[in-house]
Symmetry: C2
Subunit: 349 residues, 2 copies
């Protein structure tokens, strides 16, 4: 399912020109975090000469370089587009870098809404150089309307949901999957967004699917994951109170038909990011998810993953304690304290 | 916005080969109901010779004919695809009819998910014959992520929501708009689906929009409608408890930011059509809509539109009375009794 290249068998240069370390370079950060043995350099002329860890705290030993020529010494086999361009359009400067990379035989991995493979000139150049333009966000040609088939799988299905975008639904899902595997569980992470797909190698970016078929795409992901696994951790998207993306969230909730949910939240956030919409209380938001899934397949939130990256240790402990008291559910920050507490809750299902 | 042809200035033959009068021919029925002066014939060889009203109760005087040659006597200028083909693919037999129609200079109006204009052979034939292939479901090339701009319009925005697909969200919206206009209100119907677009001449089929931009499409529709109108009746889609389409429903709810909602329901239905999902009580479903919209923009359900086509007069009156008692809201069947009761409720906003 959408696995055109396996990033884990490549030497990757990340293109993050002009923006490495800022909000728009989430893809770059995710690639550094989960493919540390594959990322050989980050291209950003404004930060050239630094070590990646000086900018995003992880990725020690990976250099930031100023142009593609400087990257070639690391014998890269793939260029990954690491930042979301403002407005969604590819800046002209990048266009040149991508052409250069293709001419040097590099495959291109992109998670943009605008598909590189739809650009006739780039596609022609790639064919001539025998390289692949992998648009990780491009959905399969055929997807069904959801028909509740995800309820038939034998695997236990757990969906990460949350209060907003960028609160850790992908990261918690990956960490929980890894911890579950370390315990000997036959667990699989099911990516539903371009970043998860790039680091995990399969999945469907459901926010790029036509809305009539978005729940159907979530269903397909669960059916695929359940073929060879007993526990599926499905990556959630958006939030039920996000003015732009709530429909994606609900399609995923109803299409994946989870047995349980993990609620993800950033304690320091009290409005939807980039909007003025205030977040309801955690208890209310959890009730929203449980109420909406109930008519189709009842499922409870069984634990809480908190993103406390911007809190001190003392503040983090207080946030976890407060939220456990408020909800009666086990909570933790998986980056700071690992995912064991959450996997404990999942194993009780 | 997507107005490529004005159906009201055309003489229309409806293609409903093999299926006129069955569930899949909803488009044909809608066209007969709302464009009675424009529809000159319905093409369905299995019902040829009958009057349209013998099959769907409306459309008296419109003949059902057996092939395109028979339709030409009515000097048609447009062929409308009136049924949804099983599986979404265009049957080969229709392909021939469409080619024939284009060759005779007819424009083609289609609401299929598969766009006729993407078919290179058909597009070439249409260009040669100077006719238009109008895919009413095709979204605009650019749509934004929703940013709550619909909240800024001066117009009063009312959204039809409901318990399921095909319960009357489009029909109630059109009838309410007509009744409001008859009272002198500057009202506009805002179509969000292919059938509404075909009969009303503008709108965006939001179920054909990539899910990240579906709420943005709803926002655009409201901004467009508000340019010249004081009261907007926005066509709802699906249901919050529909396993396949709930994401479309929530995108529309959050993108259009209504001031009030009209709840649409078919009293004889107790499960989601084509699924085994039981419908929650009307009170619960209304609570779902009000709870989900509250964090972004509070809005109440102010009246109820019931679709009692399959009930006797006595059963209809009982259904209306029961639901008014259960909810405390004014309810009626707009086809049987007109939309005045619902417009009364809207005028109190």
């Amino acid at each position: 399912m959408m696995k055109q290249l396996n990033p884990k068998s490549h030497r990757i240069v990340i293109l993050a020109e002009g923006s490495f370390g800022v909000l728009e370079s989430k893809t770059a950060t995710v690639l550094v975090r989960y493919l540390p043995d594959n990322v050989v350099a980050v291209l950003d002329s404004t930060n050239a000469g630094k070590d990646v860890s000086e900018i995003i705290e992880i990725g020690h030993g990976i250099p930031v370089i100023k142009n593609l020529a400087d990257a070639l010494q690391f014998q890269p086999t793939m260029l990954a587009i690491g930042i979301a361009p403002p407005g969604g359009e590819l800046p002209t400067a990048w266009d040149g870098i991508i052409r250069d990379a293709i001419s040097h035989g590099l495959h291109i991995m992109s998670g943009l809404h605008h598909f590189l493979s739809d650009n006739d000139e780039l596609a022609e150049l790639a064919e001539k150089n025998n390289t692949v333009l992998w648009d990780a966000r491009k959905p399969p040609d055929y997807l069904p309307v959801a028909t509740c088939k995800a309820d038939d799988v034998e695997a236990t299905v757990v969906l990460t949901v949350g209060s907003d975008c960028r609160v850790g639904k992908m990261l918690s899902g990956i960490e929980i999957t890894k911890t579950a595997r370390a315990r000997g569980l036959n667990a699989e992470f099911c990516p539903t967004g371009q970043n998860g797909i790039m680091v995990w190698g399969w999945g469907i970016a459901i926010d790029a699917v036509v809305s009539d078929f978005t729940a159907g795409a979530a269903e397909e992901i669960v059916l695929e994951g359940a073929k060879n696994h007993d526990l599926l951790i499905v990556e959630g998207q958006g939030s039920l109170v996000h003015p732009g993306y709530s429909g994606v969230t609900l399609s995923l909730l109803h299409g994946s038909m989870p047995d349980a949910m993990i609620f993800c939240h950033q304690p320091s956030r009290d409005t939807v990011a980039r909007y003025t919409v205030p977040l309801p209380s955690i208890t209310e938001m959890i009730a929203h998810y449980e109420m909406l899934t109930a008519p189709i397949k009842p499922a409870k939130v069984v634990c809480i993953a908190l993103n406390c990256f911007d809190l001190s240790e003392r503040e983090t402990v207080k946030a976890i304690t407060d939220i456990e008291k408020e909800t009666g559910l086990p909570a933790t920050d998986v980056v700071k304290y690992g995912a064991d507490k959450l996997v404990d809750a999942i194993q009780q299902l």
